[in-house]
């Protein structure tokens, strides 16, 4: 579980990183939940999550 209540997501780079972390844990058979996002971060994350190509 990743608690982002004291953090702020500002850009696509961050969403891509969170995607990558989720994927990495999923590969090891673990699931990741993200909690505590503020309104701005949640909208940004929802708009971009899963749609970014991995580099």
């Amino acid at each position: 579980m990743i608690d982002l209540s004291a953090a702020h997501i500002w850009d696509a780079s961050t969403v891509a990183v969170i995607d990558a972390i989720t994927a990495k844990y999923a590969a090891r058979g673990k699931s990741v939940t993200i909690t505590g996002m503020n309104e701005h971060s949640r909208i940004r994350h929802a708009a971009l999550v899963g749609r970014l190509s991995t580099h």
């Binding site: 579980m1 982002l4 850009d11 990183v17 969170i18």
Partner: protein
């Protein structure tokens, strides 16, 4: 008398008490007299006839008084502009210089109408201080050709000029020196005006014929005092208290401006450095802490700070290192 400027001017005159009127007139005369040596010195710097500077100062003072004058505001010739226009005056002559000044004014009005002033918020204080300091160094540097490898008679003239500017106001009980005492926000503000029309490469003015030598000596003295007055000496005393990144921004603005002789490039690089260092500073505030979850098998990572391109990669490193540490 339908012109709004003239109407404001007349109503302002009528509102003044005789005593205030006397103060205003005396202040006007003092400023006018103080501007004469400046205008002549800046003309020599710009490489034009001193009459050009005198007429320009007169035109500006009269125009501003009728249009957008403010209490304690002086609009006149500036060393910054003189320095910036000198190469143009040298290579293309007075006609082109006047055309360029008018075009610069048109650009300024256009930029003001477009609301470009809002972009000033992206100009950090450190860059402004760096700009002003670089300007002072360029002004001083432009005088070096007149101090190195010149007939010995030049030195006493410059020293006498400095002595008059520094010493005379003290003799006559207060009051700023003709030009040198002109420190403070007014000078800085006028200095900033130079940014509008620059991109040029300030350099030393063309050497004058020998008959101009006394005037040249006085002009060098005035410009040295202008350089001293322009420099933000306070900025040299604050580095200890200032965050290191702010000092870096200031110094890089100065270094690039002096190296390229372009105020525009210097300010551009200064803003870039400021933005990068700011991003670094904010990125360093990101913190990740890991702890066992409530159910005993999961883990909770608490992330605090601003997550963006400069900081989010840290997230992977920190969460995985914490993960490996807890697994081993």
């Amino acid at each position: 008398m339908s012109h709004p400027g003239l109407r404001t001017f007349r109503s302002a005159l009528l509102r003044l008490s005789p005593r205030a009127l006397r103060t205003e007139v005396l202040a006007g005369i003092v400023v006018a007299l103080a501007l004469i040596p400046e205008a002549i010195a800046f003309s020599l710097i710009a490489g034009v006839d001193p009459r050009v500077g005198l007429f320009a100062s007169f035109t500006m003072a009269v125009t501003i008084s009728l249009t957008v004058g403010r209490p304690a505001m002086i609009s006149a010739a500036t060393g910054a502009i003189a320095l910036v226009v000198a190469p143009l005056a040298r290579s293309h002559g007075l006609d082109h210089l006047i055309a360029a000044v008018i075009l610069g004014g048109v650009f300024q009005i256009g930029l003001a109408a477009a609301g470009v002033a809002r972009l000033m918020r992206f100009l950090p204080r450190s860059v402004m201080v760096g700009f002003v300091n670089a300007l002072a160094i360029l002004i001083f540097g432009s005088q070096l050709p007149h101090l190195v490898d010149v007939p010995w008679a030049a030195y006493p003239l410059v020293v006498a000029g400095l002595a008059v500017i520094v010493g005379f106001p003290r003799l006559t009980r207060g009051g700023p020196g003709a030009a040198g005492g002109d420190h403070g926000p007014d000078r800085v503000h006028r200095g900033r005006g130079g940014r509008g029309a620059d991109g040029g490469r300030p350099g030393g003015a063309a050497r004058q014929p020998a008959r101009d030598r006394p005037a040249r000596g006085a002009a060098v003295a005035v410009m040295i005092m202008v350089a001293v007055g322009t420099f933000d000496w306070h900025s040299l005393r604050t580095p200890g208290r200032m965050p290191r990144s702010e000092t870096t921004v200031m110094l890089s603005t100065v270094a690039v401006t002096v190296a390229t002789h372009s105020l525009a490039i210097g300010v551009g690089v200064g803003v870039l450095v400021a933005m990068v260092l700011f991003a670094c500073r904010v990125a360093h505030l990101v913190d990740v802490t890991g702890e066992p979850g409530p159910d005993g098998t999961s883990k909770v990572y608490r992330v605090s700070g601003q997550l963006f391109f400069a900081s989010s990669n840290d997230l992977v490193l920190r969460s995985t290192t914490t993960a490996t540490r807890t697994r081993s």
